[in-house]
């Protein structure tokens, strides 16, 4: 379990990084490495060149505005959890981000792995892919031609596969702010604490001005080949928070998903969990929405 030979560059600017990615055929970007290096060690991946962006300045910031949270490519998972002004501001504008991040692996992995890296890794079991989808987020992609914004729907193509081709660096991910009168919740069930989820759910509940349910959206982990967002509004639309039948929303969710089975869970079991987690998280998210509406 030693990586196959590769060449290595650690450019000091984005331009240089793109230069190397352009010049080196089969080059791959290395950020946190917590998903990539195990693949290298098992020789399941053998890129010719690694372009380590860890020394590129300016990619390690969390910028929060009223519109949302922009997480730079070198922000470690822990950067959204740690007690810091940046993390606090981010959690206020889009609480789902930290809630989901708390479920990522174990602390030593969170100290090194990055939010953006896990999005670029495009693992449908990953927390960050689901959160990007659920919040309607996007990534900023730098290529030699310039920067562009890629929405989550256009980004995720398949398991561990994005639409990005050719020399490209994902420089940040943008998670739009939680809308007014909205609440979120995130929960997952894993075999061992810290494992990839057998199933996970993130939800957003939005109320109308009469504090009735106006919109319900959910995204799931380890369910389907790419992150999806399901609109569950019809099950509970117009209901007051304490009168909403969240189980009905869970039941609806079960009909919308198409999970696969593996050695840890059957497809049916995952579908069961989609229902249960939906119901549980919606109740929690609705309570938060109510709180934020009152405030």
């Amino acid at each position: 379990m030693k990586p196959a030979p590769f060449r290595y560059a650690d450019p000091r600017s984005l331009e240089e990084a793109l230069d190397v990615l352009t010049a080196e055929h089969g080059a791959k970007v290395l950020a946190g490495g917590q998903s990539l290096i195990p693949l290298l060690a098992m020789r399941l991946a053998a890129p010719a060149t690694l372009v380590d962006i860890n020394r590129v300045p300016g990619l390690d910031t969390v910028e929060t505005t009223g519109d949302g949270v922009r997480v730079g490519a070198l922000v470690r998972h822990d950067g959204l959890l740690r007690d810091s002004p940046d993390a606090t501001a981010a959690a206020r504008v889009q609480p789902l981000l930290a809630r989901a991040t708390a479920n990522v692996a174990h602390p030593a992995i969170r100290n090194r792995g990055t939010t953006v890296g896990s999005i670029a890794h495009a693992d449908p079991s990953g927390e960050m892919t689901a959160v990007l989808a659920l919040t309607g987020g996007s990534v900023t992609v730098a290529t030699p031609e310039g920067r562009s914004t890629v929405g989550w729907q256009d980004l995720f193509v398949g398991p561990l596969e994005t639409s990005l081709a050719g020399p490209a660096v994902v420089v940040d991910a943008f998670f739009p702010a939680l809308p007014a009168r909205s609440g979120t919740a995130f929960a997952e069930i894993s075999r061992r604490k810290g494992d990839y989820a057998v199933c996970g759910a993130g939800v957003v509940v939005t109320l109308d001005e009469d504090r009735r349910v106006a919109a319900v959206r959910a995204s799931y982990l380890s369910v389907g080949l790419v992150p999806e967002v399901h609109d569950l509004t019809e099950a509970v639309a117009g209901k007051p928070v304490d009168g909403a039948d969240w189980a009905a929303a869970g039941a609806l969710a079960r009909t919308l998903v198409d999970p696969d089975g593996d050695i840890h869970a059957s497809a049916d079991y995952r579908r069961l969990l989609v229902g249960v987690l939906t119901e549980r998280t919606l109740a929690e998210a609705a309570a938060e929405a109510l709180e934020r509406t009152a405030a």
Partner: protein
């Protein structure tokens, strides 16, 4: 293009307070740099894919899996391994870290293979917290939760964390 693309690099890194240098193939992982090139074999590799935590070391004070970091990535960094946890006293004697003492006192190790990873993780965690506060069970669980041990069943490792936290609290008062 100014960036060099290399197959081999010279890495300069401060390990346990000592500046070290080694020329390595760029694919070398940090655990191998420490063990093979710098002959610091206290850091153990249990899985080489980032799950077991045996190889955990501190890079710039933060616990990371040394099997999931390339040696070239720590160029210029400070690394602490299990060999660097104890400090010297005024007379050149060895003063164990409270976590090391606690592991012995509480029988928190058996074969000892996973122990270095636990020790550095817990030591960093305890040092990062307010030492005067009573440690909570949630904190204990968080500190031991990311490392695998096949021998102890963890009960005594948790006990050692509480023991070390109590020692550090006494010292802090």
């Amino acid at each position: 293009m100014t960036t060099s693309v290399d197959s081999e690099r010279t890495v300069t890194v401060t390990v346990n307070g000592v500046l070290r240098e080694a020329t390595v193939p760029v694919r070398r992982v940090l655990s191998d740099l420490l063990r093979e090139d710098l002959r610091l074999t206290g850091t153990h590799v249990g899985c080489a894919h980032g799950v077991c935590g045996s190889c955990t070391v501190l890079v710039d004070g933060v616990p990371v899996r040394s099997c999931l970091v390339l040696a070239v990535q720590v160029d210029g960094a400070e690394v602490t391994t299990v060999e660097g946890l104890a400090r010297e006293d005024d007379r050149g004697g060895q003063v164990l870290h409270p976590v090391q003492e606690a592991f012995r006192e509480c029988h928190a190790l058996q074969c000892g293979f996973c122990t270095p990873g636990f020790l550095v993780t817990i030591a960093a965690g305890l040092e990062a917290r307010d030492a005067t506060a009573e440690i909570t069970e949630e904190e204990v669980d968080e500190l031991v939760g990311g490392n695998l041990c096949r021998c102890t069943g963890y009960a005594n490792i948790k006990k050692a964390v509480r023991h070390a936290a109590a020692t550090m609290r006494d010292d802090a008062r």
